[in-house]
């Protein structure tokens, strides 16, 4: 009995790996760069293919059978995503090209309208450039300012509950926007976004809150209503879906109020020579023919993640990351510096610098050993400046990673020391 339970667990991870055809083509690949983009399961590849070979028509216009099927599948994907993040309706789910476009949409359609001289936008030092530069841009243009929440020595935000700083040190009546990441793509820190947003709205109920969930949506259950934010953005390609598709979720009342982002077909209500009225959300924000196959693929990715269980994926990654940290410290001691927060703030991302070795050399030698990691600033230059390092090495885990991958990482780093001395 015990034996069979044990075997069942073993096969479940192997079964997951089997569903990603890239491993059949690269049997020795240890892929530790899922934070950059995830690998794709067969079901997602099939869903995209199926659209192209069975019903590749444009949506929302055709009266014929395959066009109706395409529209139905596209809208079904929107529904699955709405349920996945507990949106109150599918109309609150806007398809974009990805997190970057989602954040730019909010910045351009709402942000630039509400930020004036001396107004403040609050963000954090750990943001990805895509949740930093658009706000910096708006603040500069409007002669407002960008207020930055720092991190503590343990790589958690200064405003976390045990900290000395409080959210009231940063939020005031001047604050118009709060843009914050759910999970840092470099430190792996999971921020208490719900608590931070609740505290911020208590000080100033009018602020608009935006959550970058690019590293959260693929890895942990998300409930937008519980988080209490106004907008939440994520990318399909980091959560087993295709590239070129992402999501902006927004509260319906705000979406109604906002100006369109782009103008053209599909987003209108009525057009005359004199004047145009716009469609309701989400169509108001989806000008032109969208990424239909990719949206349907993202729907399939969400079905896939639901079938495995997002909480289970989260636990799996956190366990692998914890083993990695223990193993790296044990093997390399002071020669390795790890930029990870303590539990429960830790996710499946482990970023480090290794002795005097340059991140590029470390990543290159690891690649020669079949281990794919990321080297550089990971689009978080302000954070790297704060840490006082030009670049770092990042290993990030997902559902298809196994203990063997951790062993290969450690062995690869031993090789780095052997080669570079």
């Amino acid at each position: 009995m015990h034996r069979s339970i044990h075997r069942k667990h073993m096969t479940s991870i192997q079964d997951i790996k089997k569903q990603f055809p890239i491993f059949q083509n690269n049997p020795s690949l240890t892929y530790l760069d899922s934070s950059a983009t995830s690998l794709k399961p067969q079901t997602v590849i099939d869903a995209v293919n199926q659209y192209y070979i069975e019903y590749s028509a444009n949506i929302h216009r055709g009266i014929y059978t395959i066009a109706e099927k395409a529209t139905q599948e596209y809208e079904r994907a929107r529904k699955s995503i709405a349920t996945f993040i507990n949106a109150s309706s599918p109309e609150e789910v806007i398809f974009t090209r990805g997190t970057t476009e989602s954040l730019n949409l909010v910045a351009s359609s709402l942000g630039s309208e509400i930020i004036g001289k001396d107004d403040e936008i609050v963000t954090t030092i750990m943001e990805h450039h895509s949740n930093f530069v658009p706000w910096q841009e708006i603040a500069t243009k409007a002669q407002g300012s960008l207020v930055i929440i720092p991190i503590r020595d343990d790589f958690t935000l200064a405003v976390e509950s045990t900290g000395k700083s409080q959210i009231s040190d940063f939020i005031s009546s001047k604050t118009k926007l709060l843009a914050i990441t759910y999970v840092s793509n470099t430190l792996g820190t999971i921020n208490s976004v719900k608590d931070i947003i609740t505290a911020a709205k208590k000080i100033n109920p009018d602020i608009i809150t935006i959550v970058d969930a690019a590293q959260a949506a693929p890895h942990m259950p998300i409930d937008v209503q519980d988080v209490g934010c106004d907008f939440l953005a994520f990318s399909g390609h980091k959560m087993c879906g295709p590239t070129g598709i992402g999501v902006l979720w927004g509260k319906r009342a705000l979406l109604e109020r906002m100006r369109p982002y782009q103008f053209g077909g599909e987003m209108i209500d009525h057009v005359t020579v004199e004047k145009t009225t716009y469609a309701s959300p989400p169509h108001k924000f989806e000008a032109g023919t969208p990424a239909i196959a990719q949206a349907i693929g993202l729907g399939a990715a969400v079905d896939f993640l639901n079938a495995v269980g997002v909480e289970k994926i989260h636990q799996h990654e956190v366990t692998l990351a914890a083993h990695t940290i223990t193993s790296l410290k044990k093997t390399f001691g002071d020669r390795i510096t790890i930029y990870s927060p303590p539990a429960p703030y830790r996710s499946g991302i482990v970023t480090f610098t290794f002795g005097k070795y340059h991140a590029h050399d470390v990543a290159h030698i690891l690649d020669e050993e079949g281990v794919a990691v990321r080297a550089g600033h990971h689009c978080t230059m302000p954070l790297h400046t704060h840490l006082g390092i030009p670049a770092s090495v990042r290993a990030s885990f997902y559902l298809y990673n196994i203990e063997e991958d951790v062993k290969k990482l450690v062995a690869g780093l031993k090789k780095v020391e052997a080669v570079l001395k």
């Binding site: 340059h358 590029h360 080669v419 001395k421």
Partner: protein
């Protein structure tokens, strides 16, 4: 095969011309936007000839080795001859094949040299 062969490792561990030059006539700084590495290169050019050259800064093994090999290669050479140096020449000095991203590391020192020659 590893790109970390004997030549690159030798120049990485013992970079030649890793120095600043007090009597320099030329000085430039270049940056690799991919990794943030910065390289400073200084030189003495007199009578149409590159008399001395040195570099300093932080970098990966490839960028350090290539700066070391390149500065060694160009010292004591007429400026006119140096203007014809190509990226292929630098890769030739390293004796390895490089992917496009690593090529940027390898060519940072050439970018610095070209800047010096155009001053």
């Amino acid at each position: 095969m590893s790109i970390y062969g004997d030549i690159i490792l030798d120049h990485y561990h013992n970079p030649r011309n890793y120095k600043t030059i007090s009597q320099k006539t030329h000085a430039v700084e270049v940056k690799n936007p991919l990794c943030g590495d910065e390289l400073t290169m200084e030189a003495i050019i007199k009578g149409g000839k590159l008399i001395d050259i040195g570099f300093s800064g932080q970098g990966c093994a490839i960028s350090l080795a290539s700066a070391s090999l390149l500065t060694e290669f160009v010292k004591d050479t007429p400026v006119e001859e140096l203007k014809g140096i190509t990226p292929e020449d630098v890769v030739g000095l390293l004796h390895v094949e490089l992917s496009p991203n690593r090529l940027k590391c390898a060519l940072l020192s050439l970018e610095a040299l070209k800047k010096i020659l155009s001053q």
